[in-house]
């Protein structure tokens, strides 16, 4: 609906009231609390680490100020002074510092102010029709400040009166401000049209007073948990703000927002971590491993096209199933557990296919066997399996020779993550067969604690996560793995064998299901944005600011606190689970278990963290009244799975 159409739909209306934030004026960041992160960045740059963590503490101070006020007064809103008084009690501020922070917050808000096109056009259209307009806002800033912000956004509020909750001792969201608004506007409520972005404060509550209302919440599409605010989030926040503004009056594609935001930052980070190494020492090869390094390889190629002094990009197709088999020299109790999961039930013929050889069995080919029978079958056919694995190892090395991955010197392998075991296994195979003059280094996006043992086999570094960070973040990473693997995986099957130096892929070639968004569109947006970042031409993100912290923040912001719009779009996305890469996999967002009891919560937690996108699943359960309690209980069991990931 255009502004003119909206006014046409209410011909009897003579007065317009407009909400301010995210209706008339927005900020150049994804959510309001990110303004505080901009302040923190400036404070730290000017005065040092003392201000580190300011943004989140300031949000906490605001909440505390509100709760103090609620105890003493029913309808008043807090003021900036109340908030800064609470902050001063928390972190110790002088009066001069409080004054400085108040000024800085107002100046930063003004600097980041941007017009909301729909609201600005509506105001202009109403004025053109001779209607009077008022601005009505629940806010702790004075009216004069809102006028200043509007002016900075190119909107003049000289003719309009600005009614702010903190100056009237009443609020929109509890209804108390509406009596005052009706009194000030001085027309019948049915002659007023109110437009805002909140369904209750701007919709149902004024409607109960007899006002006509219109809610447009398109500017809230990128709002996530307010407590998650820190300077490392700002590159993503700026990107999401622009996506939000560009599609404010059109359809929202949550997947494309991910592509042009967090996922592009991850891919850019992957490429830049490799570039950094390539520029600091001579390398025999740079290899992006399949399937997670697919997009990064393409983006690195763009970089390499512009600078041929960099090593040429390689794409090394390998998988866990291939390296495990290539290293298998003995079938015993320890090794059989690697190849048959505790909950797997397969036919003998599928197990044969898993090893690429005929396993002799007394069972019919299609007879389904349990894990113990399958493992026994492996032991009974140990010789055939070992022979087959030995032959696979030869074919793998033939492939590695062909792509130049065994040439003497140091090779960098880039992979998404998570323990580095695949690249370490590969390095071991090459070292054993081609000698110590071929060395590998693993450059991973995320490493979790299991990496410790692999560090003895191969140098590893984790761009965004490693065991030098907090344990909570490591567990959060574990919960998000399925999401990132699904989004950043190449649209070809996993490699299960090699033939004549060429990879053989699994049969389950299928494009990831991204709902209404075509894979090609997702892929091209991610690739294009990441390429702009690494080439240093992205309008919002400076290349030098893409650090591990920035990538981690982007990963946590979308992976740990996804929006419902994102979850709806990814409802059918699946993750491959079988070691032989057969089958369609399972949905990353899990369905709520039925008949679950309180004592089942530990096993629900365990299942989510092992098989699903845990945080995405919890957010989807939380949105449903009947399953909300399960999400709450799981978060009590694993408190790091609560929405806040920025440390207070």
């Amino acid at each position: 609906m255009t502004p003119a159409e909206l006014l046409d739909a209410h011909p009897h209306v003579t007065a317009l009231t407009l909400d301010f934030f995210d209706t008339l004026v927005t900020r150049a960041v994804a959510q309001p609390t990110h303004v505080l992160a901009v302040m923190e960045e400036r404070l730290v740059a000017a005065e040092g680490q003392r201000w580190s963590g300011f943004a989140v503490r300031r949000v906490v101070a605001e909440r505390r100020a509100r709760s103090v006020l609620t105890e003493s007064s029913e309808h008043s809103d807090v003021t900036l002074d109340d908030i800064l008084r609470e902050l001063a009690a928390d972190i110790g501020l002088t009066l001069a510092e409080r004054a400085m922070l108040a000024r800085l917050e107002q100046d930063t808000e003004v600097e980041l102010a941007r017009p909301v096109r729909f609201g600005a056009e509506l105001l202009a259209a109403a004025t053109a029709r001779g209607m009077k307009s008022w601005i009505v806002s629940d806010n702790y800033m004075p009216a004069a400040h809102l006028v200043r912000m509007a002016k900075a956004a190119g909107i003049s509020l000289e003719r309009e009166q600005v009614i702010v909750s903190c100056e009237h001792g009443a609020m929109k969201h509890d209804g108390s401000l509406w009596s005052k608004v009706i009194e000030i506007v001085a027309v019948e409520p049915r002659q007023i049209l109110h437009v805002g972005d909140l369904h209750d404060a701007d919709g149902s509550i004024p409607a109960r007073r007899g006002l006509n209302t219109h809610v447009n919440d398109s500017m809230r599409r990128v709002h996530r948990e307010p407590l998650n605010t820190c300077p490392a989030l700002l590159p993503l926040s700026r990107m999401e703000a622009v996506s939000r503004d560009e599609s404010a009056s059109g359809d929202w594609d949550a997947v494309i927002n991910l592509a042009r935001g967090a996922l592009a930052l991850v891919v850019a980070g992957q490429v830049m971590s490799v570039e950094r190494i390539a520029r600091s020492r001579p390398l025999a090869g740079v290899h992006f491993t399949s399937r997670d390094g697919y997009l990064a390889r393409d983006v690195y190629s763009v970089l390499w096209e512009g600078d041929r002094s960099l090593p040429s990009p390689g794409y090394l197709e390998v998988s866990r199933s291939v390296t495990w088999r290539a290293l298998l020299t003995e079938v015993n109790d320890a090794t059989v557990h690697r190849f048959v999961g505790d909950d797997e039930r397969l036919s003998a013929s599928r197990l044969s296919a898993r090893f690429g050889c005929e396993l002799r069995s007394s069972h019919r080919d299609d007879h389904v066997l349990g894990p113990d029978e399958l493992r026994r079958l492996m032991v009974d056919n140990a010789d055939a399996i070992v022979d087959s694995c030995r032959a696979l190892r030869v074919r793998l090395l033939e492939y590695l020779d062909r792509i130049g991955a065994t040439s003497p010197g140091h090779h960098v392998l880039m992979d998404l993550g998570w323990s580095g075991s695949v690249v370490a296994d590969l390095a071991q195979i090459v070292r054993e067969d081609r000698g110590p003059e071929v060395t590998f280094e693993g450059v991973l996006t995320g490493l979790y604690w299991d990496a410790s043992s692999n560090r003895q086999r191969i140098p590893l570094c984790g761009l965004a996560f490693d065991e030098f960070m907090t344990m909570d973040d490591n567990v959060r990473l574990l919960g998000m793995i399925r999401f990132f693997e699904s989004m950043l995986t190449a649209p070809h099957g996993s490699v299960v064998d090699y033939s004549g130096g060429v990879p053989v892929h699994s049969a389950n070639v299928g494009l990831p299901d991204l709902g209404l968004t075509p894979w090609g569109k997702f892929e091209s947006n991610t690739r294009r944005t990441a390429a702009e970042i690494v080439r240093g031409i992205h309008p919002l993100v400076r290349k030098e600011e893409v650090s591990g912290d920035v990538v981690r923040a982007a990963m946590l912001q979308v992976g740990h606190t996804p929006t419902m719009l994102e979850l709806d779009s990814l409802a059918s996305a699946c993750h491959e689970t079988a070691i032989d890469h057969a089958g369609t996999g399972i949905n990353i967002v899990g369905p709520a278990p039925s008949g679950v009891r309180l004592e089942d919560i530990p096993s629900v937690y365990d299942d989510l963290i092992r098989h699903r996108w845990m945080q995405g699943t919890l957010v989807s359960w939380e949105a449903n009244e009947t399953t909300r309690w399960i999400a709450d209980e799981v978060r009590k069991f694993g408190p790091m799975m609560g929405p806040q990931w920025v440390q207070a």
Partner: protein, 322 residues
């Protein structure tokens, strides 16, 4: 080199590999890592260092293989004597640094030339290690503040592990090296000498992670403190006895230590006492109170009945009548 990082190790390859990576990932680049292999298998350490050297980064890695196992402090001293630098740190092979540890601590000492050391906030990580696998169990914040980094704050007990500190090397010339005769707590003894030479700065940012293993971990993975509690106690007593004749600021250093320890113990007892009171079974108290009140009510009824028999008779009739 600006910083010498001394890393003592003995037969803990998986931890050593992690500790080396924590040094290599420092954003501050001007460091030399001296690994002192304290009598362990040279081949294992060389293998890990060989892998580590292949990584991209700066800084040099030197390995000193000691022919047989010696004390921790002697191993530190050998590492220190084998290096040259403006600053030094003792980085145990089971602990790790945040990538910004050296950049922040070096900057703090550069801007405060009179300080002997800087100590950062740290996290205690409790982990289990079995075979070649290490996994975290939980994290705790390690209580530290500027007061605990003064001579008086440190005299009662060792207040921080080595991983949290960066020292100015000139301190070694002023107060001497680590006391090789001490099997444990050599860092405490050194810290007490060093703090009198220049004072310690406190860095609020949490930049170090001090790891201890759970009791069910492999024996080889144990911590000197967790595993050798009785040894720590006896060495502490020995040190306090040794310090008794030593007069600092007109007071016996040994007595000062004993008093500070007693005050600390008293404080802990007080806190434990408060906790014990808080942990009393509130429900049991409530039940007991309810019983007392019920008994009182019955007594009151009987007493009223005795004082006014007519009233009692009417009450009995009411009960019987239903």
């Amino acid at each position: 080199m600006k910083v010498a990082v001394i890393m003592r190790t003995y037969e803990r390859p998986v931890l050593l590999a992690r500790a080396i990576a924590s040094v290599q990932q420092q954003t501050f680049r001007d460091w030399e890592l001296v690994i002192v292999n304290n009598g362990g298998d040279p081949g294992t350490v060389d293998g890990i260092v060989d892998v580590a050297r292949r990584t991209t980064g700066s800084g040099a890695i030197t390995v000193l293989h000691l022919p047989e196992r010696t004390g921790m402090e002697d191993a530190s001293n050998q590492g220190l004597r084998g290096s040259q630098s403006d600053y030094f740190a003792i980085h145990d092979d089971d602990d790790v640094w945040h990538p910004d540890f050296l950049s922040v601590t070096v900057a703090r000492l550069e801007s405060s030339p009179s300080s002997a050391a800087v100590v950062t906030s740290l996290t205690k990580v409790i982990e289990t290690m079995k075979g070649n696998k290490v996994w975290p169990v939980r994290e705790e914040s390690f209580w530290l503040n500027p007061g605990r980094l003064t001579y008086r704050g440190m005299i009662g007990a060792n207040t921080f592990p080595p991983i949290a500190a960066l020292f100015r090397r000139s301190v070694l010339e002023e107060v001497g090296y680590f006391d090789s005769s001490l099997p444990v707590l050599g860092d405490w003894d050194f810290n007490l000498r060093a703090v009198r030479a220049g004072g310690f700065l406190f860095e609020e940012r949490t930049l170090a992670r001090y790891h201890v293993r759970t009791e069910d971990s492999d024996r080889s993975a144990s911590n000197s403190i967790v595993d050798g509690e009785s040894l720590h106690r006896s060495v502490k007593l020995e040190l306090q006895n040794r310090w008794l004749p030593e007069i600092v600021d007109g007071i016996s250093k040994g007595l000062l230590s004993i008093n500070a320890q007693a005050a600390g113990d008293l404080e802990e007892t007080r806190i434990a006492g408060i906790r014990a009171v808080a942990d009393v079974d509130v429900e049991a108290i409530a039940n007991r109170t309810a019983n007392i009140l019920e008994t009182r009510r019955v007594f009151r009824r009987v007493w009223r009945g005795l004082r006014s028999p007519g009233h009692a008779l009417r009450a009995v009739k009411r009960i019987i009548g239903g």
